[in-house]
Amino acid sequence: MIVASLGQPLLYLLVLGFGLGPVFQKAGNGSYLQFVAPGVIGMSVLFTSVFSGIGLLWDRQFGFLKETLVAPVPRATVMIGKTLGGATVATIQGLLVLAICLIAGFRPVNWLTLPLALVFMIMTAIVFAGLGVAIGSKLQDIQGMQLIMNFVVLPIYFLSGALFPLTDLPTVLNFLTRIDPLSYGVDGLRNIMIGTSQFPPELSLAVLAVAALIFIALGSYSFSKIQI
């Protein structure tokens, strides 16, 4: 599953990194591959973690959810377990994409501090796995999944600065990018990986921590209210 889902980030990396590279460079922003690598890592962490949470829908469809819901384990514990499980898979996915980026020619500013990128991957993964479980507890059928993809996951991705710098944007767009938690995840990764960023990394980390708490609280609440 993990290997199969590496296709998409790879595609983004190749097409964007090499396709848009010349345009980006002409505009005076340096190498696009360097710029976009943290974004592609953020993207794969986002997708993997949200969909691991939404995987709750499969448990519901195949009936296994009932078994978890009648077990004498507090529902909040089950929810946090699911979130951390999803976040682990997503973080591993992020590391694999980082490896691919390095193979494709990405070079970090500092090899010694590169492991710190893991912190931002983990935090981003927890935020969106929590969001995934919160959504998954509410979803009743597969049709809802397409809606979530189009109206939640893709906007989070495109508004995060994964693909373009968050500078000189129209006010509305600027606002939307600032309330998107992924902006801070990607920006934090950029700070560590290429040494430039929009926000101070401490701020990014704090925003991610708050977002994680909010989504976990929301997820625990909606998970504890499930009726089937």
């Binding site: 009936g63 296994f64 078994e67 009648v70 009726q227 089937i228």
Partner: protein
């Protein structure tokens, strides 16, 4: 052990359970009988914290399932009518996961898993994935899993659905044993009257969400002036078929009628 007062559940316009009251004493085997769509599963879901009642009161071992859910969940085991296994795990892994969820100590977990999978003739297939199982094998695994921890109350919602006679026999013998040796209270539903007559000490007949008769199998026969539980059941609930899940035979009859026209 179970006390239900004026319990109702509405799904929009449909009243699935309509002002139902009954009691099940500790150590009793109680059967809930009724035609398709009568409200049996809905009642079980409310008793087992899966659904919130629209109105009415439930006590499980003196506790309220809506408020003290986790305490209530510690007290019962359940075999669902619908599938509830993790298809992506093996038979053994499903058992093990259940044991972990119910904090059954590891050693006991393994002993009981071996005993139950052997009893329901799944031990040789313990390493196979559930998705590769036949319908009856899945059913047997659901039952074995339900017996892994020893609860105070056991809910069995049509446990023998799709089982061969050998497995049914195993199941009911095991249920009787548990009831006698451990004093487990049993709440069961079934569409097989012979099973109900064999194991249940007391029966409630539910139809259209309402309980229409209660008593021991003999009392029900006396009340309806019939000589078998099947006849008593038909007298109480009428012989028309409920449109939901009408059996294949009924559909054939329907088809035959259409052809004749």
């Amino acid at each position: 052990m179970i006390r239900v007062e004026n319990l109702s559940k509405k799904f929009g316009e449909v009243t699935a359970v309509d002002n139902v009251s009954f009691e099940v004493a500790a150590g009793e085997i109680f059967a809930f009988l009724g035609p398709n769509g009568a409200g049996k599963t809905t009642t079980i879901k409310m008793l087992t914290t899966l659904l919130k009642p629209t109105s009415g009161k439930i006590e499980i071992d003196g506790l309220d399932p809506a408020k003290q859910s986790n305490e209530v969940r510690k007290r019962f085991g359940i075999v669902f009518q619908d599938p509830s296994l993790d298809q992506e795990l093996t038979a053994e892994e499903n058992m093990d996961l259940h044991g972990v969820l119910y904090s059954v100590p590891r050693k006991l977990r393994h002993e009981r898993t071996e005993m139950l999978l052997t009893l329901f003739e799944l031990w040789d297939r313990r390493k196979s994935y559930v998705k590769e199982f036949s319908g009856g094998m899945k059913r047997r695994l659901e039952i074995a899993r339900g017996f892994l921890h020893t609860p105070k109350i056991l809910f069995l919602d049509e446990p023998t659905l799709g089982l061969d006679p050998q497995s049914r026999n195993q199941l009911w013998t095991h249920v009787k044993n548990l009831n006698q040796s451990e004093g487990v209270t049993v709440f069961l539903t079934t569409h097989y009257m012979d099973e109900a007559e064999r194991v249940a000490e007391r029966i409630a007949v539910i139809d259209h969400g309402k309980i229409i008769a209660q008593g021991s199998p003999d009392e029900l026969k006396r009340q309806t002036d019939t000589d078998s539980l099947e006849a008593a059941f038909l007298r109480l609930t009428g012989s028309t078929i409920r449109d939901e899940k009408a059996g294949a035979a009924d559909q054939m009859r329907e088809m035959a009628r259409m052809w004749r026209k």
